[in-house]
Symmetry: D2
Subunit: 371 residues, 4 copies
């Protein structure tokens, strides 16, 4: 059951780490650490194998996959010896990565759809999942044409890039996963198209650091009936993502999705904010510091703080593989529209779902067994 | 449904905070923050009301409850104005606290049993729950006489104090909760007695700080299939408990119960240890620092650290009230022997149970609905 | 040698903590912890005694000093029993605190000057030091009239409030200390007036937390010839000061003064910024978290982080007393103009001075011995 | 002025990092970050150049310098490309590293002395400095024979290995630096020998992490007249040094030297201890966490904590080069006996010296100018 994974942003850190990792697992050079679908509870024959994934994609960048992998090795994200050993496989993936097409929005969408159909045909793939791992867009303004497929057809140029990619994916009969906080498939018109095309979609915003911790600590405070008074977070990021996210508009989009877990889990909004700041020296790693003040019995004030020093690409890449496998299997099983059972993976999940990680894991397990 | 709560260590910080808190809630002066049985999911008419609890107990200390409460207010554990307002109620509780009886083990047990029966009769209580909140004992050596009730009857003087209290409680027809890591009811002979007397028991070692965090973070790493490489903890404690726990024997007992959650949740034992250290200046608060190193995809090394600055008494006291209510209700509903569904409250729970906090909460919810 | 301390913002947390503390020391109820002028190296008979300080001031707030002191006790800033014991002394100070005068800038200045002269006369004070502990102003725009005393006389209404207070102080023959980052005496016209009046001035921005740490850690990295790559700080503040400083303009003023120590000590500016955020629940305490990344030999990347949980009022108050004593003694010794030797106390000191705390302490010791 | 550096433990992490770094600086491939003698204030023509250092030494390990360097590159301690580029230089150093001689103590000493004389002669070195960077020994018991050179001559087998090396060095007319907490030259008999031979010595225990921070933070609290109530430290170490130091005897030796700075700087000993723990996964890095509780004005309780994540070898190696250069120059300038002016480098410095880092830096600057 060979399955295509079409990466929007295919030459970026997350994408290339995913590609290196899948190749390394296939070659038996590493264990699939961090791959949730390899957890004993979730392993399933209904999912395409990690070795059955075939990679392609688009990117505006032109650095080769092998060169990018070497840069990631230099930065401590992936082991240098793996990159050296897998050099030929990485070069081969380059053949399947296209520059972003030029033209009007309609022309771009048509070209992407054609690329997807061509990719599926040439590799004889059961199906292709499009995964957006491009840089975060500024939060897009709503537009009346986005409410129905009919009006959208004549207004494709009003779509933000992530949504245009979802449109092209759906037109090609591909499911779509948005790993970023961008708009992606979250528009009524695109939902209509997904249903029409019998494809599924999932998102948004991979949960790889601070929010992951929040999704277990906030339920802990709730279960213990402790009162969280404030929750303040600082995220220091280097690398390309940091520079993008420090833009006020993108920062706002990301920060809002990071705080949602608190109000939804606790039932109230504590004081405090989450900030994202760009610190070039930190490179591909991310340091998050959170201070939580809370009241115990009789109001006694207490506090907890944590520091998370993670490598976003190394945390995100296995989830990209998981999501591709899960979404492809769901598509194969006839699931259409939003895959709300994949909330486990996202900061800002689709649908009215539980934000506690444990509950999300159980929902995911039920989902996998249903495929 | 007036219910007795008999505290072993009734003049200690945890006991007095429980007493002040229950009085404050009854008087409408505070909300029951930190009381798990007041969580919307767990609230139940099957439980005795917080206002229906009647307190008594034993202690070798002689400080009055009101004086101890003032000292706790000075230390920032409870609000001074509450202590002032509730002065009369606190003085009244003093009437129900006995010195620890003298004599042989058999005489002590008989005296405690008599105290319990007398307490129940005088206050016309539906039932009494004995809760051990005394200082942690050194880990007790196993003894052959502890394997059956028959042999135990002639060897009561081989029991550690916490177990002698459980014996006396069971003889009086009272259920028993061990909030400490001491041996308590965890002996085959005492289990036999509990069954004979149709009473229930619960324990061990209230989960109030570092282990509480571990019980949500360890499942997070497990669910994400990340590999925890090391988990090292330092607990700095002041106050009486700190001095006791810094004794090597007690330290060993406590540290072992703190690490159990890791191996049972992760399925392997990472590098690292947990230490407890006595730092008088920290007083009734506790500062725990944990460093967790873990590997992500392709082995990328990452790390997390957290600092927990909590007030053990303020965290423990509402749980003592919860456990008294739950155990009394279980006893009333005919439950006999170990209450494994109360694992949510304990570092070192009875039975083969899940150590993930979310699963424990669900088990607790099922339990409450069954009463 | 009775000496007046005239506090601008006399009903605020810093001022009232200073007043309570001076009274407590005078009454022998506490040791002068945190008073630098009581350090064995700096103690000097040339300084007015802590017990010789007489307090007065202005404030727009109307809360009584005693009430404010009770609120500070409630918040854990000062001990409640001290406030109760010193009640009469605190009530007496209220007599000497005026509302801020109304009118044109010239009228306000004249009224303040009159208040100062009256205060000095009535209490028969050797001299009076005016200390600005009011809320931080937004950074003021430069104005051409501020360059000479002659032009300033006709343009008093262009002065920010802190500078108008310095003007009034100088007119009354009083020295002036700015404990805030506001403009205060830092204008050529005001310097001219200070020289004319033979008075001294000091500032700016008391060094009470994150910057204090920076002033010893940055020299450490410099002395070891390690390369600091980034230094990022987050300051979470509650209380009135937090709300004021979270205003973007005030935040900018304060943040700039916080970063100056890095570039001046290291000789280069590392990546990273300092942010101030208002978190009401934190109250009168402040939590600062800093992450420092640095390179060692051969570029090896390393990191340090620290968390500072301090009570700004309790840190600032003894320094206010120190500054009043030192400035009064300098004035008495004939020192005129900027007291650059007091850099030890300030984030943003006057003059071209060393920013390393150790060097500043030595300069201070030389200064004290010279009086 | 070619100068020999004879490393005891020449195949260990610190030694090999020193060797790689000196070669890289000589080849112009890196800047001398972390070398204190390259600080503008300390740079001096009186010191042998970094490029003039010639390396040799002893070790019981047999791994080649190049192999060890590759392992250090794998562990992130030194850059892999440097190791590859400098391969030939590293191979050349291997020629100068001897196994530890066998035999009686007298025979070992004689063999080491002969090796040193031979090394100096063959390379035509102005002088040779012996630097002990071997693993920490258990604290040695005092022995009456160590009090005079005369009695020592017949009791060489009572010397701990580090002291036997100092003996051999002095016999060969070489100065000796102890970078470890071992006994080394700190015996009256060895001092006598150093004076007799007109050589100098320095030590003990390179200040590379937690103690470095303490040596600036403790003076900060002292200068501000704040009262440190407790100072508790946890050091988590991997690598060979960690395993050695976790031995209770070595741990005790190291911990004592780590606390000395507090009592000597503050003038009193706060609560709390420093612990060293071995956590293999941490590898060549070290994570130290310290909690400091302190009282401000009126006793207000506050706290600071810091985490230091450093690479001991990368911090120690440039100091080894500094010490070799400084000690050689001092020897050349006729300095004999303990070099107390080098306290800047050590946790447990020789002589009655100031433990504040700033004062130590100034003493060092005076020393350099005197050469």
């Amino acid at each position: 059951m060979r399955t295509g994974v079409w990466l929007v942003g295919a030459r970026g850190s997350v994408a290339v780490t995913s590609i290196v990792g899948a190749a390394a697992v296939r070659a038996g050079l590493t264990e699939p650490i961090g791959c949730v679908t390899e957890h004993p509870v979730l392993r399933s024959d209904a999912l395409p194998g990690l070795g059955d994934l075939v990679f392609g994609g688009h990117d505006i960048a032109t650095i080769s996959v092998a060169k990018k992998a070497e840069a990631l090795a230099e930065a401590g994200v992936v082991p240098g010896r793996l990159v050296a050993t897998l050099h030929d496989e990485l070069v081969a993936v380059d053949e399947e990565i296209r520059p972003l097409p030029h033209g009007t929005a309609a022309e771009v969408a048509a070209a992407v759809t054609a690329d997807l159909l061509d990719f599926r045909r040439r590799h004889d793939l059961a199906r292709v999942v499009v995964v957006n791992v491009a840089s975060t867009e500024a939060a897009a303004a709503p537009h009346p044409a986005h409410t129905s497929l009919e009006t959208l057809r004549d207004a494709l140029d009003t779509l933000p890039p992530s949504s245009l990619m979802a449109y092209a994916a759906f037109e090609a009969g591909c499911s779509f996963v948005d790993f970023t906080p961008s708009t992606g498939a979250r528009l009524p018109a695109l939902h209509e198209l997904a249903v029409l095309q019998n494809v599924a979609y999932a998102g948004h915003d991979g949960k790889t650091g601070e929010t992951l911790i929040k999704s277990v600590l906030a339920p802990m405070f709730a279960m213990r009936n402790l009162r969280v008074k404030s929750w303040s977070g600082t995220n220091l990021l280097g690398g390309g993502d940091g520079a993008t996210l420090a833009e006020p508009a993108a920062n706002a989009a990301k920060s809002a999705s990071k705080q949602r877990v608190l109000s939804e889990t606790l039932g109230y909004q504590p004081d405090g904010h989450t900030r994202i700041e760009y610190v070039p020296d930190i490179g591909d790693f991310k340091t998050a510091w959170d201070l939580i003040t809370f009241a115990g019995f009789l109001g006694t004030p207490m506090r907890m703080e944590f520091t998370w020093h993670g490598c976003d690409s190394a945390l995100a890449a296995p989830l990209v593989l998981d999501l591709a496998r899960l979404t492809a299997a769901a598509h194969g099983a006839g699931r259409v529209g939003p895959l709300t059972e994949l909330a486990f993976f996202f900061k800002d999940p689709l649908g009215e779902v539980d934000h506690a990680l444990g509950a999300q894991f159980e929902a995911l397990a039920v989902f996998v067994r249903s495929l």
